[in-house]
């Protein structure tokens, strides 16, 4: 099947798909869409159509233009402010031009962005119906306008329940968002789009755009999201789904659309497609899975660099209860486990981003907790899994982002004059080093002067990593380093970590929900379950053993096993 499709020309495939829905007008057509950001062409001649109830998987490398395409569809300000776009958007056979997302909403298009847009002290219901609350008439509204009508709580509950019901997920409509685990926040966002039912001013939701919704979800949560997506499609809602987890795309989509360098390379039905196919189309060459190169690490004769003792961390959704762990100098230690079990809490707590207690001993000295500065001054660094929060200065250039922390903490890139009285920024050195990271990590940018906010999500993630490399820490925590990174660049990022470890002797603690990537570059892997270390095994251990540990079972052989 795959071969057949691959052999047909792109246009032929499009025709085939068209024929399947011959008598229907497609819900959405995008014709000859093009977009450049001040001369930098990011989309060229994009053509596709989407039928009622169809799930379209949109895949492509970091920076291929997926998010940009969706932003155009949704009428986002960012597009208008950067010179608009070329081509036509046709909905139900009618040409449209959205001047703002509100217009798009009115036409029945909903978009769930990667960042949450929720109010912490409102319940799920209140968030779902934010600014669309059904109202009960009061006389005061005659005098002072609509807004003095009172909220119809009963109706609000009904609508929220119905929207949550369509998702078929266990989301409590009365739960405050601040109390929710991250997956439920994502569901709340989606329920909000679904609750947009037809009124006389607005059309009901017809098309849902999901930009990497599963990146923050645990596997079970992602599964229930996929199930919900199928239900929605059965009820006639079309979905455009962006993800770097290709298996999900194959599982849930009817059609897969592959983008490369701002163009559509392939549009194929998903039957029979395998990950390797998609990866090849995305990258333009075969993508080998990253090979594991085991290396012998001499634990006996290397000193302990970092010792965590009875660490607890109060990170909502990732609570650490009691973790004791020794990290040896020069090793790469992996930390894995299911979502919500506390693996993410470890670096966040050690760095002091969340309330924590217990002992952190680095190079024999105790590091005061709850104070990021101490953590950094001691010579440690942390690349957070949260790209947005702790990550980048979005309005600043790439080189500034990469060099800033190093300059602050270590006075790197500073030339000294008059015995240190006068310090001057060494621009040449900054540029040179930035260039080298851009090359090594294949960061897609127009120049090292480009602003961070102008990079695609995945490329921003790479910049975060480069920033930490530039600091040159003795110990580097990296959390979910390949989240949001395309399949081709994943091994690149992992290799860069390994290389950095080998060339600089930097100890690395890598936290990831993907066991295979932990096994690929780590020396040993600790599995966290219920906020505690459940077991530590050499990375060479069979993945089945790890699988057992993850679900909370110790195999007989490895009882209490550690290296």
């Amino acid at each position: 099947m795959t071969v057949v499709w691959a052999d047909k020309s792109h246009n032929q495939v499009l025709k085939d798909i068209k024929e399947m829905h011959e008598n229907e007008v497609p819900l959405l057509e995008m014709k000859h869409i093009s977009k450049d950001f001040f001369g930098n062409k990011v989309l060229t001649d994009i053509n596709f159509s989407l039928n009622k109830g169809e799930i379209l998987g949109l895949v492509g490398e970091n920076g291929a233009g997926k998010s940009t395409l969706m932003k155009i569809l949704f009428g986002m300000d960012e597009i208008h402010q950067t010179g608009g776009y070329g081509g036509d958007i046709i909905i139900n056979g009618e040409k449209v031009q959205f001047s703002s997302p509100i217009d798009a909403l009115a036409k029945g298009i909903g978009m769930v962005h990667q960042e949450f847009s929720l109010l912490p002290d409102f319940t799920a219901t209140e968030n779902i119906l934010l600014n669309r609350e059904p109202l009960k008439y009061t006389v005061f509204s005659e005098l002072f306008g609509e807004r003095l009508n009172i909220l119809d709580r009963e109706k609000m509950d009904q609508i929220a329940e119905r929207a949550i019901g369509r998702l078929k997920v266990p989301l409590d409509k009365d739960m405050m968002v601040s109390q929710m685990p991250v997956g439920h926040k994502q569901f709340t966002e989606i329920a909000r789009e679904l609750s947009k039912e037809a009124t006389d001013v607005v059309e009901g939701i017809k098309l849902l755009v999901l930009d990497e919704p599963t990146a923050v979800l645990s596997e079970q949560e992602a599964d229930s999201l996929l199930k919900a997506m199928r239900l929605l499609s059965e009820s006639g809602i079309s979905i455009i789904f962006i993800s770097h987890r290709l298996q999900e795309i194959i599982d849930v989509c009817n059609t897969i659309m592959v983008m490369r360098d701002g163009q559509i390379i392939k549009t194929v039905p998903s039957q029979g497609v395998v990950i390797a196919d998609i990866a090849r189309w995305m990258v333009g060459r075969d993508v080998g899975s990253s090979k594991r190169e085991a290396r012998g690490f001499d634990y006996e004769n290397t000193p302990v660099l970092l010792s965590l003792q009875n660490l607890w961390v109060d990170m909502p959704g990732e609570v650490v209860r009691d973790v004791s762990l020794d990290v040896h100098k020069g090793e790469i230690l992996g930390i894995g486990g299911m979502a919500g079990q506390g693996k993410l809490g470890i670096p966040n707590g050690a760095m002091g981003l969340f309330p924590a207690g217990g002992k952190v001993i680095f190079e024999g000295k105790e590091i005061a907790l709850n104070n990021p500065r101490h953590f950094l001054d001691a010579g440690m660094a942390f690349v957070s899994e949260d790209r947005r929060g702790v990550g980048l200065l979005l309005d600043e250039s790439l080189e500034w982002n990469i060099s800033f922390t190093a300059m602050q903490i270590q006075e790197k890139y500073l030339k000294r004059y008059l015995g240190g009285l006068l310090k001057w920024r060494d621009q040449a050195a900054i540029e040179e080093e930035t260039e080298s990271y851009v090359k090594q990590l294949e960061i897609r940018c127009t120049s090292t002067k480009q602003k961070a906010k102008e990079l695609s999500g995945g490329n921003q993630q790479k910049v975060c990593l480069a920033k930490a490399f530039a600091v040159g820490p003795k110990l580097l925590f990296v959390s979910e380093p390949t989240r949001g990174i395309d399949i081709g660049a994943k091994s690149l990022v992992l290799k860069a970590l390994r290389k950095y470890n080998e060339e600089n002797g930097t100890t690395i603690v890598m936290i990831s929900s993907e066991l295979e990537e932990l096994r690929a570059i780590c020396d040993r892997v600790a599995i966290i379950s219920d906020g505690k270390v459940f077991g530590i095994l050499p990375a060479t251990t069979d993945s089945a053993e790890f699988g057992l540990l993850m679900i909370g079972q110790k195999s007989q052989v490895l009882e209490g096993g550690s290296v």
């Binding site: 997302p101 509100i102 847009s117 929720l118 109010l119 912490p120 002290d121 409102f122 209140e126 934010l130 600014n131 669309r132 609350e133 109202l135 009061t138 609509e146 807004r147 003095l148 009508n149 009172i150 909220l151 009875n310 607890w312 961390v313 109060d314 609570v319 209860r321 009691d322 309330p355 924590a356 207690g357």
Partner: protein, 371 residues
Amino acid sequence: MTLHMTKTQKLLRIMGNNMVPILFLVICAFGIPLSGYSANFLASEIVIRISRNSFLIVSLLIPILAGMGLNFGMTLGAMAGQIGLILISDWGIVGIPGIILAMIISTPISVLLGWWCGKILNMARGREMVTSYIIGFFMNGIYQLVVLYGMGAVIPVRSNALLLPRGYGIRNTVNLIGIRRALDDLLLIRLFGIPIPLATLLVITVLCLFILWFKKTKLGQDMRAVGQDMEVARAAGIKVEHTRIISIVISTVFAGYGMILYLQNIGTLNTYNSHMQIGMFSVAALLVGGASVSKANIRNVFLGVILFHLMFIISPMAGKNLIGQAQLGEYFRVFVSYGVITISLVLYEVRKKRDQHYVGLQLAADQEALQ
């Protein structure tokens, strides 16, 4: 997962959360016997203060709902109310009609000033409290210009009882004899010998009901949303700036009415001073009632009025009986107000930190329990 607190721990926690009210309770508990006042006297004084001050304090609630903190800019409304009172005194309109007319006059002025203040606060996001404080000072200058030089010269004011001997400008104190206690005495009953101004209390009740109702309206919900996260609210299509301005306008208008009620009870207007202190005293009273920068309700208002003013009632006598000096009371008043505001603001930050710390303790306790 919950940490089982002992009863004392629980008690300590509740006390920690209500530090300021408790402190005042303690002071009053010691002060009352020292002052030697009778229960009846104290009760009737408190009733007076409630009817005099609570309207003003309630006017602070809505900006807090909208996340704009304590609106020190309520002085703007107080000025508007005073202008209304000066004008009706000049026109010789007395009694309830006088009060109503003064309110009517103050309304457009308050709306205008509130609008302007709201606009500026929108430019000073995150520093609303300081900014509104400064705006109050700035507006005071303009108020003085208008009242001291404008009235009688540009704005027609004829009454010699109001004007300075030079022919323009309003006197330092204005006797509000025409409307003095007009509302209070409208429906005055006596309960156990305590005079109770039912009409005024009724007006205050209506206002409180309004606030409760307002929280249920769409506008109230929008303010709560804006108060939590302006960007999210904006993305949902709520007009953030507009909503914030409205909250300040409402607050200013109420402050104007509150000032009129306050002054009808007092009976004289300190033309150049009355409004300046009222903002500070109202904020302090609200804080004494247990409110914080981000959370306040009607219960805080009344508890605050009672505790804050009880202290002022007893402190001169207590001071006299204790160290033979009554001025101590007046000194106390200003000192304590500023003190309360400072302490509350500091405590607010500390409490935020401590709450985080508390969750930590809970986790630590879990750990111990498991070992």
